[in-house]
């Protein structure tokens, strides 16, 4: 019974699966059919618009979309495929011959799953084929557009035939029609849809004011200090040029966008009039941007804000000329758009293009003739350097020549490229100059940003300087990353080519068999820096919050935080290196090869390194200890991995290699505690009562508060010296670092006490015995000194005192 039930259940499951599969199959089939239809439509469209560039661009966008759709379609099978594969894995392989047979349900389910999988594979195969077709269509569009481009570029139109009265009339008609279309529409709207018109206009004014207020006022005030007169740094002038171009342009664009959106949504303009408004708005925005850029570049009326070294008249002339070129170019662009809307005769467009190209050429020629610089010595105006002047003249001549000889397409194309590429290059140059100015030391400090960072985040001069280098690099990269693709796209490179190039540049530069990925290297460096910072943070937290609170011994704290630091940096380095794409196993190979070299050459360093680790682990001394190692005695300042810094009492820093500290005996005065013994040697004259001295010294020791009672001080009667009875007062002090101070105090006390009791501290004394014969010999020959000889003979023997006073052994302090 249960077996029967399970069978039925299984059957239901399989059936449901099959049914679901069937309906899914139908859905995908219809989707495949739809995709197939779109590709067929694209192919047909291409054949229909072989000579229409604009249309081809549109088809290209469609094809790109289709390729993406195909990929998405393929990806949409993934969950189902995953489920099927998982289930198949659970079911296992079908039993081979000789193996026991499996239940028929399992076989049924497997075959159903396999069938579904095969169906999906077929779908995917179809999608793959379609994607190939779509991509072929894309490349065909590319070929066609190249042909069209070449045709328009190199088609010759006899221009004598265009400047006829008829065309002039047609041109006038175009303008008139433009005006009529707009005004009649406005009139219509004014008469019949007054409310909508008023609402749209009112809202436009309102929103524009808000945007203007927000962008211009707030940001403008933020950057307002440039407006104040006075000497501005080069960087300030550059940033002023940048912002004074960007902010007003953005404000205008936002306002125009708002206006367009409102007028579109309120239905004020539609059809032709809407297109005309579009053309007008885009032209206004473009002209305004170029005008602001040119104004910022040449600053014709404010020499103090100028970012170039041009003379005043030259700056004004260049301003006028470039503005003129931009005006001509944009008028041409606008008129072309308008004649496209009205489908005017080609002759009008050609005539207008010829005039525009000629004007641009002439203006360019005039710009090449300007003398922008001043000779430093004579003060005479100087021309452009040949490297700028000659290409400008050649370009101008080329444009004029092309226009006059009838190659209208070429003239128009080159004039357009000169202006657009020129504008991009000029903008890039401002960016590059800013980067360069920023990299110069001290620039950031003088700027508003620098002051802000200093005031708000407490950046000091050094970190500001480092930040400025990083920022300038970032600006360079940004300029290159935005400007170069813009120029490339402008010159007809394909979007996919450019994005693939950038992608490869960052992820996969192949040199021989080595793959370098800039992105990975940057990422690795970033990870390393992050790891470093985290390590330092962790170290500080561990030291401050955990170990300081747990009252861990300072030496242990120091050891642990040092080891944590090295460990963290090591881990960060390993993570960084592997993230940068270097294979760690190959590094291990290199390390293996190097270890032989290390064995010989770097033996010493490795020895010190290992010794350093041992010092940190074993801790024979810690930072702050007073140690004696060989000839060096002093306080330990820092234990690092290769060497240990010791500061002697003369404040000389001695760097002692760690291996020395491991291999030789190191005395540590403050190893477990700071208690230490001070020995003071005292000599008293023969004849003094030694017991009295003994007691006196003990009394003195007991009287000093710094002398420890336990272990008790004691006096040792050390020797019967040549000239004195030698004693040594030995006592313990709590802090051996104060030993010399206490010893000095004790010596003063001893001298005072001895003087008070009349105890003498003798000089070292010698008995000198001289024989009289020797004296005779010595003085006999010396005639002029008979008296002395007599004295000498009399003094058969005499004591000659000689010495330097008491010389108590210095206490070990």
């Amino acid at each position: 019974m249960p077996k029967f039930l399970t069978r039925i259940l299984l059957l239901i499951v399989v059936a449901a699966f099959a049914l679901g599969g069937a309906s899914a199959q139908q859905a995908t089939e219809s989707r495949t059919a739809a995709l197939q239809k779109s590709i067929a439509k694209i192919e047909a469209d291409i054949e229909k618009s072989l000579a229409n560039d604009d249309r081809l661009v549109m088809i290209r966008v469609e094809a790109d979309k289709l390729v993406k759709e195909l990929i998405d379609f393929g990806v949409s099978f993934r969950p189902e495929l995953g489920t099927i594969n998982k289930r198949l894995g659970e079911l296992g392989q079908p039993p081979k011959e000789g193996e026991p047979a499996e239940p028929p349900e399992v076989t049924a389910e497997r075959s159903s799953l396999l069938a579904r999988k095969a169906a999906i594979n077929v779908e995917l195969g179809a999608a793959e084929k379609l994607s190939i077709r779509a991509n072929e269509a894309i490349s065909r569009i590319g070929d066609l557009r190249r042909d069209i481009f070449a045709n328009t570029l190199f088609r010759r139109t006899p221009i004598a035939a265009i400047f006829v009265d008829e065309n002039v009339q047609a041109f006038r008609n175009d303008l008139r029609q433009f005006w009529r279309t707009l005004s009649s529409r406005i009139q219509f709207v004014w008469n019949f849809r007054t409310n909508a018109f008023l609402a749209a206009t009112g809202l436009t004014v309102l929103l524009s004011t808000v945007v203007w207020f927000l962008l211009h006022r707030t940001l403008g005030r933020f950057f307002g200090y440039w407006v104040q007169a006075g000497e501005l740094s080069y960087f300030s002038r550059l940033s002023r040029a940048f912002w004074s171009t960007l902010i007003p342009s953005l404000t205008l664009c936002a306002n125009l966008g708002i206006a367009y959106w409102l007028f579109f949504n309120f239905g004020i303009f539609s059809g032709q009039s809407l297109e005309l408004v579009q053309a007008l708005l885009v032209s206004i925005a473009a002209f305004y941007f170029i005008a602001r850029l040119v104004l910022a570049l040449f600053s014709p009326w404010r020499p103090d804000l100028r970012i170039t070294r041009f003379r005043d008249p030259a700056a004004r002339a260049l301003f006028a000329l470039t503005l003129g070129m931009a005006l001509v170019y944009i008028l041409d662009f606008f008129m072309n758009w308008v004649s496209g809307i009205f489908s005017s005769s080609l002759a009008v467009t050609v005539a207008q293009t010829v005039i525009a190209s000629l004007l641009i050429g002439i203006l360019l020629l005039m710009a090449a003739m300007v003398k922008p610089y001043t000779d430093k010595n004579t003060g005479e105006p100087v021309q452009w350097p040949a490297i700028i002047r000659i290409p400008l003249i050649l370009l101008a001549a080329f444009v004029i020549g092309a226009a006059l000889s009838g190659y209208i397409g070429l003239a128009r194309f080159s004039a357009g490229q000169i202006i657009v590429t020129g504008a991009i290059i000029a903008t890039m140059l401002i960016g590059l100059q800013s980067g360069r100015a920023l990299a110069t030391a001290g620039t950031l400090q003088g700027s508003a940003l620098g002051r802000f960072l200093q005031g708000r985040f407490g950046f000091n001069e050094v970190s500001l300087d480092q930040l400025s280098v990083v920022l300038s690099l970032a600006i360079y990269m940004l300029v290159a990353l935005i400007g170069l693709p813009l120029i490339a796209l402008q010159w007809g490179f394909n979007r996919v080519d450019v994005s693939n190039f950038i992608y490869r540049l960052f992820t996969n530069i192949q040199i021989g068999s080595i793959n370098i990925s800039l992105f990975a290297i940057l990422f690795g460096a970033l990870l390393f820096i992050l790891g470093y910072v985290l390590t330092r943070q962790f170290q500080a937290w561990l030291d401050r919050n955990v170990m300081a609170r747990s009252r861990v011994d300072e030496g242990v704290r120091n050891s642990i935080s040092t080891v944590t630091g090295y460990l963290g940096i090591g881990i960060a380095a390993v993570i960084g290196v592997s993230a940068a794409g270097f294979n760690l196993s190959s590094l291990a190979f290199v390390a293996g090869a190097l270890s032989l070299g290390i064995g010989f050459g770097l033996q010493n360093i490795v020895n010190n390194f290992v010794s350093g680790l041992i010092l940190l682990a074993e801790r024979p001394f810690k930072v702050g200890d007073w140690i004696v190692a060989g000839q060096t005695a002093g306080t330990v300042k820092r234990i690092s991995v290769r060497a240990t810094e010791i500061e002697t009492f003369q404040k000389q820093t001695v760097i002692l290699p760690n291996s020395d500290l491991i291999n030789q005996a190191v005395g540590n005065w403050t190893h477990r505690n700071h208690m230490g013994r001070v020995d003071i040697a005292v000599g008293v004259a023969y004849g003094t009562n030694p017991r009295q001295v003994h007691d006196l010294l003990l009394e003195l020791a007991a009287a000093d508060p710094s002398v420890l009672k336990v272990p008790a001080p004691f006096v040792v009667f050390t020797a019967f010296g040549d000239s004195a009875l030698s004693f040594e007062l030995r006592f313990h002090v709590r802090d051996v670092l104060e030993g010399s101070v206490i010893a000095t105090r004790m010596r003063f006390a001893i001298i005072d006490a001895f003087e008070a009791r009349g105890i003498q501290m003798p000089f070292p004394q010698r008995d000198l015995n001289l024989k009289s014969d020797d004296l005779q010999k010595l003085f006999g020959d010396l005639q002029p000194a008979p008296k002395q000889a007599k004295n000498g003979s009399k003094a058969k023997s005499g004591r000659v005192a000689r010495g330097t006073g008491t010389r108590p052994k210095p206490a070990k302090a």
Binding site: I71, R78, N121, V282, L489, Q490, R495, Y503
Partner: protein, 87 residues
């Protein structure tokens, strides 16, 4: 001019440039995959234990066992015992 405006938008869009898919071969055996990317079919070999980055713009892949998969970029594909799993 229109192309400049288009170019500016494209450059702005390049910021989110596509990410490649990564295929990792965890087996001790070399495999070859058939990849269709941008209308071109190509065969790539993945050595044992190697990982390769493919098709930032999305592609169709035929796995060694005949399974077909579609990658949109950014995925990690692991080949374990000749079977591919996408993560």
């Amino acid at each position: 001019m229109k192309s400049l405006i288009a170019a500016i938008f494209i450059v702005a869009g390049l910021g989110g440039a596509a990410q490649a898919a990564t295929i990792i071969n965890t087996d001790g055996q070399d495999y070859s995959l058939q990849i269709t990317e941008g209308g071109a079919q190509s065969e790539i070999g993945i050595a044992a234990g190697q990982s390769v980055s493919v098709c930032p713009a999305g592609c169709f892949v035929t796995m060694p066992n005949g399974d077909r998969e579609t990658l949109s970029g950014g995925e990690t594909v692991e080949i374990v015992n000749g079977k591919a799993t996408i993560k």
